[in-house]
Symmetry: C2
Subunit: 577 residues, 2 copies
């Protein structure tokens, strides 16, 4: 802010000069007092000048709608929407989202710091304010091969970027609790530059949690019980109540929010697919859900505005008050939270559901061609099992935690799996796809439902290798080859033929296609996966699969190196005995 801008701000606030814009006749939600004040909001440049009786060069009639500060999603991976940052902004800004705390963990696992740079540059093309966290755990564990390794040395440059708030969710909580040397190095990089360290530590408690909190963990979005929430909150962490496409924690946690602790409570999506956005909104959907769950509307708004701004040190954001950043939403009511106008930095950027700025995409060519698999054939899928009693990754509904279910499978003479329609168990393979290493690991997936064909995805948290499941090796091979040929994305295969596909050319994770088309295509493919391949009703076939390779979520998972027992935090044999 230069002197002329500061002077103009004062002159307008003092009433000596007209505001650029005045939004008249609004019910202004004051997040500091909790009161709703009827009045006019004066905007000058990118800031609010004040609420009161002001005149503006432009005057807008809010027609008695509620004016609330722009909404903040406190933790999200844009990549999980499969949309480019520009397109993601186009979808969520009309819903009232004005700021997101984005952890580009997925694309950085694929493309390293180039992935971060792409996201930061792309984000400049959207009205949405995107603040970044530097992914802290790339790869997520030492038990897998991602496209990049971000070590403490690599972090020293990007952690200093102005738009990088700190280290993203520190998923290697075991490494923190054990005080692993390289973990300490990473933590010290953030501390040295005065940056935030965000958390991710499901289920731990007591002294383990104390050890984790003690390093200065700012927030955690992995609480799924009230006890977990209270433990983290009492340890001085912010708690981020999550409601996304994959994880639905908000209903389980809402009862924990009260007058004393709500200031330390935030809201986030983590992952938000376009279909969810179209059906349930974004942060406005969280607000609606909060109110339905019995949280006072203003308290819920605070969680999505001033509380988030405080947590993420976004000075002068999260409130409609003099000198604050002019991010606001006009809402029809405080129950449904339908947004009719969104203003960001003093500009009207969405009206009646329509995003107003021009859509421009930056060139993402540097992130295409990310599927690098050589020497793959169905021979790589052979398992030579010595026992037919196998540990299977068991799909459980309602989250991404899996069971470890012992299943008796049919084997041929060479110990190779033969699909049995009577047993809901198929082969799952992770095929390394970044550096042509030739790594392939196989295991079993139960209770997923598929009884014919195969699926393959280049979305496989967090290393984003190819995850493929199918009833036999021919089908899996066809699916892997198809997803490789299309340069990443999702394919459905039956009898060696592609039934349907969604290319995701940007790192195998994202596309510049409109969200509506992505949602429609995913829905179509979901239907085929369910109706034709047999994936269980109630599961999202793709999200579900994409988490089967994440070796930090209990109980059993698989990486390109092998089957992983998260409880023991080590590899394990496929055979049960």
């Amino acid at each position: 802010m230069d002197k002329a801008e500061l002077k103009k701000l004062i002159d307008v606030a003092a009433g000596r000069e007209k505001a650029d814009v005045v939004i008249k006749n609004a019910k202004v939600v004051n997040v500091f007092s909790g009161k709703i004040i009827e009045g006019s909001i004066a905007i000058v440049g990118e800031q609010f000048a004040g609420v009161g009786d002001y005149e503006g060069v432009e005057e807008i009639d809010a027609k008695g709608k509620y004016a609330i500060p722009g909404l903040i999603d406190s933790h999200i991976h844009i990549e999980s929407s499969h949309l480019s940052p520009e397109e993601f902004g186009r979808l969520v800004v009309p819903l009232g989202t004005t700021t997101i705390i984005a952890d580009p963990h997925e694309i950085v696992n694929v493309a390293g710091i180039s992935g971060l740079n792409y996201m930061m540059n792309a984000a400049k093309n959207t009205a949405l304010s995107v603040k970044f966290m530097l992914p802290s755990c790339v790869p997520a564990t030492p038990f897998e091969h991602a496209g990049a390794i971000i070590d403490s040395q690599t972090m020293k440059g990007p952690i200093q970027f102005t738009n990088v708030l700190g280290l993203g969710e520190f998923m290697n909580f075991v490494g923190v609790i054990n005080a692993d040397d390289e973990v300490l190095n990473k933590l010290l990089v953030a501390k040295r530059f005065g940056k935030i360290i965000d958390g991710h530590a499901p289920a731990i408690k007591g002294k383990d949690l104390n050890a984790y909190s003690a390093v200065g963990i700012r927030g955690d979005h992995e609480c799924s019980t009230v006890d977990e929430l209270n433990d983290r909150l009492e340890n001085g962490e912010y708690v981020i109540l999550r409601e996304g496409s994959a994880c639905h924690d908000l209903p389980k946690l809402a009862s924990a929010v009260n007058n004393t602790n709500s200031r330390r409570c935030l809201l986030c999506s983590d992952d938000r697919q376009p279909k969810t956005i179209f059906e349930a909104g974004h942060v406005n959907g969280h607000l609606k859900m909060c109110v339905e769950l019995g949280i006072d509307a203003v308290t819920a708004i605070q969680m999505a505005t001033i509380n988030a701004a405080e947590c993420w040190k976004l000075e002068g954001r999260g409130a409609i008050a003099p000198g604050y950043r002019a991010d606001l939403v006009l809402m029809d009511d405080l129950t449904e939270f339908n947004a009719s106008q969104t203003w960001i930095e003093g500009k009207l950027v969405a009206k009646d559901g329509e995003y107003l700025p021009e859509i421009k995409h930056i060139d993402a060519a540097m992130l295409t061609g990310s599927v690098n698999i050589s020497g793959f054939s169905k021979d790589k899928l052979k398992m030579h099992l010595k026992s037919n009693r196998v540990k299977t990754i068991q799909i459980l509904t309602g989250g991404i935690v899996t069971g470890n279910k012992i299943v008796e499978v049919k084997l041929d003479d060479e110990g190779e799996f033969i699909y049995d329609p009577a047993v809901d168990c198929v082969k799952i393979a992770i095929v390394e796809r970044h550096h042509n290493t030739g790594n392939v690991a196989c295991g079993f997936l139960s209770d997923y439902g598929i009884h014919t064909g195969a699926l393959a995805l280049t979305i496989a948290h967090d290393s984003h290798n190819v995850v493929a499941v199918g009833v036999n090796d021919d089908e899996i091979e066809a699916a892997v080859q198809a997803v490789k040929e299309q340069g990443g994305g999702i394919v459905l295969v039956r009898d060696g033929e592609v039934l349907e596909r969604m290319p995701l050319p940007i790192g195998g994770l994202m596309t510049t296609q409109p969200g509506e088309e992505v949602a429609a295509q995913l829905e179509k493919m979901h239907k085929i996966a369910t109706e034709e391949l047999g994936v269980r009703e109630g599961l999202d076939p793709f999200i579900t699969l994409s988490f089967m390779s994440l070796p930090v979520i209990p109980e059993l998972k698989i990486t390109d190196v092998g089957l992983f027992d998260v409880t023991k935090f080590d590899f394990t044999s496929v055979e049960a005995d």
Copy 2:
């Protein structure tokens, strides 16, 4: 924090290694959840490792006392205690104060940045954590001569000091509202370096307040009504409820604190004299008063701990939680708030009222010899009045606001004042004492009560020239000469003889004498001023006088340049007609 310290913190928190200290059997107040948790507090180095079942190299039994985070005074001028920073720390640490936000506005008005440097260096000798604000308005107004001028250019160096949080109370609120050029320059210095701007703007509201808040004012301690508090709070400022030796706002404001807004409420003293400290404590006294006024004890504790830490961006302070700075107080109860132990950065620094570290004073020689008056004699006190109807600075009780009372005084043939015992009105003089300018301004003081002799002080907000009052020019001259000869402080004179004195050699404001002696001497002098000189009962003779030269507090004041009408914000004649 280096790697070994971080590792040890984790190892202790995780329970693998013994803590340095464990405080067992405590009722730990959790400022995040509001709950009181019985348990043991583990400390390692300067931080808390956690609350739980820990073992320590040293183990202390808290005997069921309440453990609360160390208390924070959010705005104080140490100088107003007349004590050195080292001695101030000795008095308040045993009461549970562990951090103060000090604005060395008084000494900087006398000695410029040398005064700041002295305070910062002296503060290193106390266990108390002293965070500084860079005085923003030196001199307070253009209508007086202080010992130094701190302009925006001068600020650029010190604003960057690590221990300087930002610009101190921006008292020139008129300059902000009018967007004065040099005010803008100062504000931009703070903004450029990402520093806080603290506020001070009594009584303004509406658009004036919006203009003031809009520049990013962080907090204001000048609210004296609930409306003022609510207005500032809704404008996004923190409000600092003040209870000091001179100003008593807390009782007037307590009813405004509620569940929604308390997070934005803090506590401060502004000025705290040793007598007040001995009688009413420090921040622990604020807590006691809060509870008496109906504020929930934990809410009050939050105001003095985590809320203050958030406002002043003191990361990792203000709570008993893993990784937080190990500042805590053991309190006997949550009603009287008698502190039995104070811990700062993991060290026991006070026990049963006794300050434990060694008391060392830095050499303050560079700040002595601050009374530089040449060419002063009683001739300078002549007024040559043309009318006997004069405006007088009228003492009002309960604050530092004064009236503007027209009084008919007796004059001799040359228009010089003759004291009339029937009229409570005496002469007041401000004698410039920094740069031998020879400036002297005279006016009248009513309802102060003095009927014989004179007083002179080198404490005269904010320029700290000599303020003297007396029944005639001989007495005033004697008092000014005496206070000059002793190098600053306070003198009481009758019949040209010093009745009692308190030397304040450090800048004419402070002494290294023990607080007990200062309090006793002030009490003795108070008694003499009241009983022998006639100062009205119920007034503090010295504090009252020291504010008569502050031209930002209504209604009538006097500087070394002349009588000042604060309402009109300009000089005014002494004669009423």
